[in-house]
Amino acid sequence: MPDTSSKAPAAVATPRPRRRRRRSADWEGLLYVLPAAALVIVFFMIPLGMTIWMSLHKWPLMGKPRWIGLDNYSRLLGDSDFWNALGFTVQYTLAATAGLLGVALILALMVERPARGVAFYRTAYFLPVVTGFASASLLWAWLSNVDSGLFSPLAQTIGLTSEPVNILATFGPAFWSVTIMVVWKMAGFHMVILMSGLQSIPADYIEAARIDGAKAHQRFRYITLPLVRRPFALALILCVSGSMLAFDQFYIILSGGPQNQTVTAVYHIFNESFVSFRLGYGAALSVVLLAILLVLSAIQLRLLRDRGETR
C-alpha cells in the first residue's frame, strides 16, 4: 500500500529512471531465490516427474528401458507381497501412533508448567529424539539380541523368564520391541509439539472453570482437549506420515524378518528397486505410496478441521 502511493508522484516526475530501478529490483529478488529454486527443480521436481515416467516403463538397471504403459500398475494390483507390506505398515502405523501420542500427551501434561526440575525432565525425555533412527535402531538391535543384549539376560536375572528368550525370532515380540523403541525415541518430539499447544491455553480459562467447580478431569476434557486440537492434528499427521514411511528400524533391527513379516511399504520398494533392480516397477509402487500418503494427509486435515467447525 505505501509502495503505490510513493510510486505515483515519482512516476510523474521522473518516469524513466524509476522504471529501470523497478526492473533491476525484479531481477535482484529472483537472483536471491535462484539457488533454492534450482536445487528444488533439479533434485526434486525432475525426479518426481521421472518417477511417474519410469513407472510406465520396464526399466532394468542395465540395458534399455521399454515402454509398457500401465502394465506395472496392473501387475501391482495382484502383487500380494506389496499389499501385505502395506497392510503391515498400516498395522505398525496404528500401534506406533497410538503409543506415541498417548505417551507424548502424558509426558506433556507432566512437564507443561514450569516448576523445579521440569527443565531437566523435559531435556531427559527429549534426548532420544536427537539421536538418529539408525543409531537408535542399532542400539535396540543390540539390546534385543538374545546372547549379547540386555532384555533377555535381564529378564532372566530378575527371574521373569527361566531361559533365554529370543524376542526377535517371533513376530509378536519383535513387532512390539520395535514399536517400543519408536515410542522411546520419538515421544519427546511429540511431547514438545503438544506442550506448545497446552501452554498456549490462557490460564484464565482453567482458573474460571476451577472457580465454577469443574473437576480436574472435566477441565481436561472440556477445556484442554478442544484447545489442543491444532497441535494434536499436527502431531497426528507427522506421526502417521512418519510411520507410513518407516524403513530404518525394520531394516536394521529385523531385516524384514521373521519370515519377511515385517517388510514395510518403503522396504518393499527398496527391495524391488535396489535389490531386484526392477526400477520401473519400484517407481510404480512409489507413485501408489505417494498417492496414499497425500490422500491420508488430506483426510486427516479435513477430519480435524470439520470437527472443529461443527463444535
Partner: protein, 295 residues
C-alpha cells in the same frame, strides 16, 4: 500443573498442605523414574562400549566394564576397511557440508522472498514449500539415476546436494520468517548510509537473523549426520560410507561374525555429537520444532 498446585498451597490450610507436599513428592519420583527410563539405553551403550573384547560379547550386566577400562571396541572398527576416524570424517563432511550449503541457500532465498517482489514469486515459494508434501523415499530411484548421469553417484558431494534440497522447505520458510521479523527501517537506515547488495545481507541483516541461521544449520547438520536410507542406496563404495551405513553393515555381520563391541562403539560415536550439539543449542532446536506448531 505444578505451578497450579504451588499457588494453591499458599492459600491452602495446613491440613491440605501436607497432602499437596505428598502429591509433589509422588510427581517428582515418577518424573525421575521416567527420566531414567528414557536415559538408560543411552548410558548403557556408552558404558558398554568401553569394555574389553572378551567382555563385549557378554550381556551388559552390570553396564559398566567389570574388567579394565578399554577403548578396544573403537579401535576394532579399523577391521572394517578404514579407521573409525575415516568414516566419522565422511559423516562429518556430509553433515557440515549440508549445514553450510543449507545456510547459504536458505538465507539467500529467505532474504529474496521477504524483501523483494519479482515475477512468479508466489509460485516459486509454493514450489519450494510443496516438496514437504512429497516423501523423498518415493523419488529415490530417479535420484539414483540422476546422480549417475551427473557423475555424482557414489560421492559425498551428491549426498550433500540431496540432503540440502530436503532441508529447503523447512529452512526457507524459517529464514523468510526471520527476515520478515526484521523492521524495514533498519534496512532503510543502512541504505541511506550507503550500504547495499551483499554487504547489506551479510553485515546488516546477518546478525539480526542469526538465531534463524543457527536453527537452520543445526537441523541440517543433525538430519544429514543421521540420514540412513539415501546414504544406503547412493553410496556403494565402502570407503565412502557414512557412519550409519557402515555400522549397519557391521551389525548385519557382513564382515564375519557380529562384533557387538564394535556396534556399541559405533553407536556411541554416532550419538554423542548429536547429544552435545542439542544440549548446547537446545533453545535453537526447540524454536525450530515449535515454529510449525504455533502460529
Amino acid at each position: 500443573m505444578n505451578a497450579a498446585t504451588m499457588d494453591a498451597s499458599i492459600r491452602a490450610p495446613a491440613r491440605r498442605r501436607g497432602r499437596i507436599r505428598y502429591h509433589r513428592a509422588v510427581f517428582h519420583v515418577t518424573a525421575v523414574l521416567v527420566a531414567l527410563l528414557f536415559l538408560a539405553p543411552i548410558f548403557w551403550v556408552v558404558a558398554a562400549s568401553f569394555r574389553t573384547k572378551a567382555e563385549s560379547g557378554q550381556p551388559p550386566l552390570p553396564p559398566w566394564p567389570s574388567g579394565p577400562f578399554s577403548i578396544d571396541s573403537y579401535l576394532r572398527l579399523e577391521n572394517f576397511g578404514q579407521s573409525i576416524l575415516h568414516y566419522s570424517g565422511n559423516s562429518l563432511f556430509v553433515a557440515v557440508g549440508t549445514a553450510a550449503l543449507t545456510i547459504v541457500v536458505s538465507t539467500l532465498a529467505g532474504y529474496g522472498f521477504s524483501r523483494f517482489n519479482f515475477p512468479l514469486k508466489g509460485l516459486v515459494f509454493l514450489l519450494v514449500l510443496a516438496t514437504i508434501m512429497v516423501p523423498f523415499q518415493s523419488i529415490l530411484t530417479p535420484l539414483f539415476l540422476l546422480l549417475a548421469k551427473m557423475g555424482l553417484q557414489n560421492t559425498l558431494i551428491g549426498l550433500i546436494l540431496i540432503y540440502t534440497t530436503l532441508q529447503l522447505p523447512f529452512s526457507v520458510f524459517m529464514m523468510r520468517n526471520a527476515f520478515d521479523a526484521v523492521p524495514k527501517e533498519i534496512e532503510e537506515a543502512a541504505r541511506i548510509d550507503g550500504v547495499k547488495g551483499a554487504r547489506m545481507l551479510v553485515q546488516v541483516m546477518g546478525p539480526l537473523v542469526l538465531p534463524g541461521v543457527v536453527t537452520v544449520g543445526l537441523f541440517a547438520f543433525l538430519n544429514a549426520w543421521n540420514e540412513f536410507l539415501a546414504a544406503l542406496v547412493l553410496l556403494t563404495d565402502q570407503s565412502k560410507f557414512t557412519l550409519p551405513v557402515l555400522m549397519t553393515a557391521v551389525r548385519s555381520g557382513r564382515f564375519g561374525s557380529i562384533d557387538w563391541g564394535a556396534v556399541q562403539a559405533g553407536v556411541t560415536v554416532m550419538m554423542i555429537p548429536c547429544l552435545i550439539l542439542f544440549l548446547i543449542l537446545q533453545r535453537s532446536y526447540i524454536r525450530g520444532l515449535t515454529a510449525g506448531a504455533v502460529k
